[in-house]
Assembly symmetry: C2
Homo-oligomer: 83 residues x 2
Amino acid sequence: MRNVTVYITLKSGVLDPQGKAIQESLNSLGYDEVQSARVGKTISLQIEDGPNLEKRITEMCEKLLANPVIEDYRFDVEEAVQS
Amino acid sequence: MRNVTVYITLKSGVLDPQGKAIQESLNSLGYDEVQSARVGKTISLQIEDGPNLEKRITEMCEKLLANPVIEDYRFDVEEAVQS
């Protein structure tokens, strides 16, 4: 079993109104040192080991998890710890 | 300037219907090896250096960025690269 974490972020030119709202909220709470905020997401998957694991994860990202037009993604694969 | 990334995840006992939908969608696309999926978010902040930086970031997480009742958070602080 593998633990896979996919990190998805908006590409740098894409407007992020949610991040802008967070930045303005932090500023109005007195955290004036915050210059910008951008929001992304993570998807943690538990995947059974198999052939072509990384290729299949890339396919999942392209087909379903990320929107390659406006988002970048990267992923980490770790051996799952047996409890 | 510092680049701060806050990682927010649902606590382990909290239901994640969005993650469940992603898992079922991946299974129905033929990725039967996916056993579970859980969704989290990241918030990337650019923050001016100052005193008590880590304490202030912890306050931001507790007050605004995360919901400590149902979410866990952690953050990384990096020196921003000057371009």
